[in-house]
């Protein structure tokens, strides 16, 4: 088998007080694969994405583990080389399109700048590329959009721009951090479809962070279920939905609201399941602490 696009091996990250926020996370994303990372708020899904992209908050320290981007160990690289590698091979589709574009710069330069300044493309090539991508995300009036300031575009429009920007440099891996969460439900579907479409066309691997199991089912081939920074279950998406193994996964699926009976189906995760999870986490921490003092 060829090298994974992204290979995370027992990654642990700690806060200054010694608490682990990522607990020996291992997961891999194969080239061209959509790997979903699902869990509730605060489970550390976004943290994993930030770790891969090298933008962890200063207070979070990677205590252990390796991250390999197309076989290159990010931890072994000098900071500058790491930045260059991450910049050239990855991109982010962010959660909130409202804050992900610089409000005082026009869309056009914001999109081409990266291609020209970082990747050294000519202005013309960058411009053509951006227009092609805008067409792919079904923006029909690229002239207007390129000349606009972000606040002149709707949320869905901005997310399209961000998707186009993410794919523009042909990255090998895109981290999509809840890319539909901040959008209208009607727009969510279109955006999701666009990401899936571009992903297929470009063959880009995606680490898709979400809390929405419905989205997981639609877009991903494999999925990791995360709880309190620990991967509790990992499976092919189809297999996971057919036969969830971990009680927490089953509880999550049971907690998904159904349109037929929204009130009855909307229920929290069972206390017994949570107690089991807490014991599991405690045991894992104990095992981890022994060699790490």
């Amino acid at each position: 088998m060829s090298a994974a696009c992204l290979d995370i091996r027992s990654l642990s990250a700690v806060l200054p007080n010694g608490q682990r926020v990522l607990r020996s996370v291992s997961l891999s994303v194969q080239p061209g694969e959509v790997r979903a990372l699902v869990g509730e708020s605060g489970a550390g899904k976004t943290m994993i994405g930030k770790a891969v992209l090298g933008v962890l908050p200063p207070s979070v320290r990677i205590a252990e583990g390796d991250m390999l981007l197309e076989g290159e160990d990010l931890g072994q690289l000098q900071p500058k080389a790491r930045r260059t590698l991450i910049g050239a091979r990855t991109a982010l589709i962010p959660q909130d399109p409202l804050t992900a574009l610089n409000p005082s710069r026009r869309i056009g330069p914001q999109m081409t700048d990266r291609l020209v300044r970082i990747l050294g493309w000519s202005d013309e090539r960058a411009d053509n590329r951006i227009r092609q991508l805008l067409d792919e995300v079904q923006i029909r009036d690229p002239e207007r959009v390129l000349k606009s300031y972000p606040h002149e575009l709707s949320g869905g429009m901005r997310q399209r721009v961000l998707i186009a920007a993410a794919f523009a440099a042909e990255p090998r891996l895109i981290v999509a951090d809840e890319p539909t969460t901040a959008l209208d439900v009607t727009v969510q579907k279109q955006i999701l479809r666009l990401i899936a479409q571009l992903q297929r066309d470009h063959g880009t691997a995606i680490l898709f962070v979400t809390h929405d199991l419905g989205v997981v089912a639609k877009i991903s081939q494999r999925v990791s279920v995360l709880y309190a920074g620990k991967v509790v279950e990992e499976a092919e998406t189809a297999a996971l939905f057919a036969a969830p193994q971990h009680p927490y996964t089953r509880a999550l699926m049971a907690a998904t609201p159904r349109y037929t009976d929204p009130l009855a189906s909307l229920r929290p995760v069972d206390d017994a399941v949570l107690a089991g999870l807490a014991a599991e986490i405690a045991a894992a921490d104990q095992a981890w602490r022994r060699p790490h003092g």
Partner: protein
């Protein structure tokens, strides 16, 4: 369409009124030798304490009356504007440059840079500003450049604090993170992503600071620590007017009105400019 939207929020009148007064005062100051009706330094004891034009006992050509040495008040105000504007522009720009650069660095880089700069600002701001200015001018010696330096040295902290806070907020934004992922250098991000978003605040503060510089210069003139006493300054005229308040109130009142209008216009002009050019507010 733009104009309509601005007018609706009341930016238009503010911008034009404040800008109009500033332009008028600035032009009068620049063209002082041409527009001033009298020589501001010419004394004539026959004409002492003439009242302004609408009262009895005035002389033609002395619109706002004269002071206790018979010097024309309007001409003195116009010439005094020269020093006021020179000080306002030079001191505010100097304070802005120093304060904004340090504030940007502190806010964007954080960590040690922020801790050092913020401590300096804290200590700096513990000094009573006017006393600090008087002390500085006393040490540097009176004169135009000392006044400018003194104001810049005192007031850079105002820029530093505001720009630091803004840059800090900006550096937490997703587009800054995105730029980091893309591989931009820190300084490049600071200049390209952060700076454009704090420029509206810098402009507003700059204008506000010009008003403050006018006041500080007036205070220094008032305590006789500004420029040589021959050149009329607003603060100097106010100081003289205070002595003859019971005989000639206008010598105190007109420079005060000029000062207030100018300072108010600077602050309003800055705010209006900010609202006009901030793409997010707009």
């Amino acid at each position: 369409m733009d104009d309509a939207r601005i007018a609706r929020r009341g930016v238009g009148p503010r911008l034009w009124l404040a800008g109009g007064w500033l332009l008028l005062a600035l032009l009068a100051a620049i063209l002082a030798p041409l527009v001033a009706p009298q020589d501001p330094l010419a004394q004539d004891l026959m004409l002492e304490r003439l009242p302004p034009f609408w009262l009895d006992g005035t002389e033609p050509g002395y619109w706002l009356g004269t002071d206790s040495l018979g010097r024309d008040l309007l001409s003195r105000l116009i010439f005094g504007g020269r020093i006021a504007f020179i000080v306002a522009f030079a001191a505010a720009i100097a304070a802005c440059l120093v304060g904004s650069v340090l504030g940007l660095i502190a806010g964007y880089f954080g960590g040690w840079a922020d801790r050092i700069i913020s401590r300096i600002v804290d200590i700096w701001m513990a000094f009573p500003p006017v006393l600090f200015a008087i002390l500085l001018v006393a040490v540097l010696g009176t004169g135009l450049s000392s006044v400018i330096i003194a104001i810049a040295v005192i007031d850079w902290t105002r820029f530093c604090r505001v720009i630091r806070a803004e840059a800090m907020g900006q550096s937490r934004m997703d587009y800054v993170e995105n730029a980091r992922i893309a591989g931009y250098g820190r300084i490049g991000i600071m200049l390209r992503e952060v700076l454009p978003n704090v420029v509206p605040s810098i402009v507003a503060l700059l204008s506000l600071e010009m008003g403050i510089a006018v006041i500080v210069e007036a205070i220094l003139s008032f305590v006789n620590l500004s420029i040589s006493t021959d050149d009329p300054t607003w603060g100097g005229i106010i100081a003289e007017g205070r002595l003859s308040i019971h005989q000639a109130w206008w010598v105190l009142v007109f420079p005060l009105i000029t000062l207030i209008l100018t300072v108010l216009s600077f602050s309003q002009f800055g705010e209006a400019l900010k609202a006009r050019f901030d793409p997010v507010l707009r």
